[in-house]
């Protein structure tokens, strides 16, 4: 491996004498594994899997990563490869497939990505040394900028929406239509004869829930229009209804 190839690992491992690692230092189990391979100066094509597996387990225990599923999965994989390496090989009859093969392939692939990351970091740093125009003129009255959105985004949004929908609780709702018009007529009749009356007088004896709701909606709507005023003399007392500024005798 060249120096450049390892620059990411080396930069992050710092002084290799004191092996102090922190959780944030690694972006995943592959990153940690590469770090260990580098530290031990191991040939990536011939990883002493037993040694590396033990060290991996030790580090994730030390870092408290042994509850992170991704690190655990890698630990399990290493232990499995270690076991496979110990199995006796059966002569030359069958070609032996190195159980480390897949892991090496992934490590190399990941290593390459880390190299690209280093390159991107350098590019971003170079770009940051040059400033674009800072002044942003106040926008003249231009039409709003064009919209850019695609069907894929909409479908993606649908998926998010579907994921949001909680387990449905099915309520059976019985339609019991409110008679707001009738209640409004009753209120107007009362207002015509009296400047002020109480909420209870509007309801009459033994009102049903539908009567109460109808009357309430009617009163609120008339109050909104200014035909009547609602007031409550004291807390917890029934409110009284007075003719409002917009009241006109029918």
């Amino acid at each position: 491996m060249t120096g450049a190839a390892w620059s990411a690992g080396a930069a992050r491992s710092g002084d290799d004498g004191g092996f102090v690692v922190t959780l944030e230092r690694f972006s995943g189990p592959l990153d940690l594994l590469l770090h260990l391979i580098h530290r031990e100066e191991i040939d990536i094509w011939d990883i002493p899997i037993a040694r590396i597996a033990d060290q991996f387990l030790q580090v994730i225990r030390d870092l408290g990563l042994d509850e992170a599923a991704e690190y655990l999965e890698m630990a399990a994989r290493l232990v499995r490869i270690k076991a496979q390496m110990l199995l006796p090989r059966r002569g030359d009859e069958e070609p032996w497939e190195d159980p480390r093969h897949e892991l090496v392939r992934r490590l190399l692939e990941y290593q390459q990505i880390r190299e690209v990351v280093d390159w991107l970091e350098r590019a971003a740093r170079r770009r940051a040394e040059r400033y674009g125009r800072g002044f942003v003129p106040a926008a003249p009255d231009l039409p709003p900028p064009p919209l850019a959105f695609a069907i894929e985004e909409l479908v993606e949004a649908v998926e998010r929406v579907l994921a949001m929908i909680p387990d449905s609780v099915i309520h059976r709702v019985l339609a019991r239509p409110l008679d707001v018009e009738g209640a409004t007529r009753r209120v107007l009749v009362l207002l015509e004869s009296r400047e002020s009356f109480g909420w209870r007088e509007l309801l009459g004896p033994a009102p049903s829930i539908t009567d109460i709701l109808s009357a309430l909606v009617a009163v609120l709507e008339l109050a909104r229009r200014g035909a009547l005023k609602l007031s409550q003399p004291r807390p917890f007392t029934p409110f009284s209804i007075d003719r409002g500024p917009a009241y006109q005798a029918a």
């Binding site: 400033y131 674009g132 125009r133 800072g134 002044f135 942003v136 926008a139 003249p140 231009l142 709003p144 900028p145 064009p146 919209l147 850019a148 959105f149 695609a150 069907i151 985004e153 909409l154 479908v155 993606e156 949004a157 649908v158 998010r160 929406v161 579907l162 994921a163 949001m164 929908i165 909680p166 387990d167 449905s168 409110l178 909606v217």
Partner: protein, 180 residues
């Protein structure tokens, strides 16, 4: 141009507002106010004599590089500042609900998303992607929203039937399927 004049040009270019003489001092502690005045003069002359598209303008007790007025019309016509705007994910979600369940009221949208959506509805309406199609018969007669032809146009769809089928959303608020 003098090295200080170049620095001045870079600074005026990068600054988000006109820079006053005493603000320039930080750029180069060794330069005096007179030095900066000279640099401003040099830059101004250079822009003027070489015939640049920009000029040094004194504004609000400071100096700024601005495009010359003669090019304003062409630039405004090009409207480079108008980078296409992407809809936020919140807006897309509301749009998705309306697209599949129209006509639909705000309460239902908010029930599905679990957050209030008035602002997003207004934005989508302003952008002409949804419109009010009428009122529900229900209590309070809430407004009902539908998508507009512009919505289809944006997505390049012939009509609403061309939307990808998503049975779940179209049919009802079904519980998510039992999955792993």
């Amino acid at each position: 141009m003098d090295q200080r004049t170049r620095l001045l040009e870079a600074a005026l270019f990068a600054a988000p507002r006109p820079l006053a003489l005493d603000e320039l001092r930080v750029l180069d502690p060794e330069a005096t106010e007179a030095d900066w005045r000279r640099a401003i003069e040099e830059l101004r002359d250079h822009y003027d004599t070489d015939g640049h598209g920009v000029e040094v303008v004194e504004i609000a007790d400071g100096y700024q590089i601005l495009t010359r007025a003669v090019f304003a019309e062409a630039i405004e016509r090009a409207a480079f500042a108008a980078r296409p705007v992407k809809l936020s994910s919140a807006a897309l979600e509301v749009l998705a609900i309306i697209a599949y369940r129209q006509p639909v009221g705000r309460a239902e949208i908010e029930e599905i998303r679990g957050v209030s959506s008035g602002g997003v509805l207004r934005l989508l309406q302003e952008r002409g992607l949804i419109e009010v199609a009428g009122r529900s018969e229900g209590l309070g007669r809430p407004l009902l929203y539908t998508t507009t032809p512009l919505f289809l146009e944006h997505l390049g769809l012939g009509n609403l039937a061309d939307l990808p089928r998503t049975e779940e959303l179209a049919v009802a608020l079904r519980p998510p399927q039992t999955e792993s």
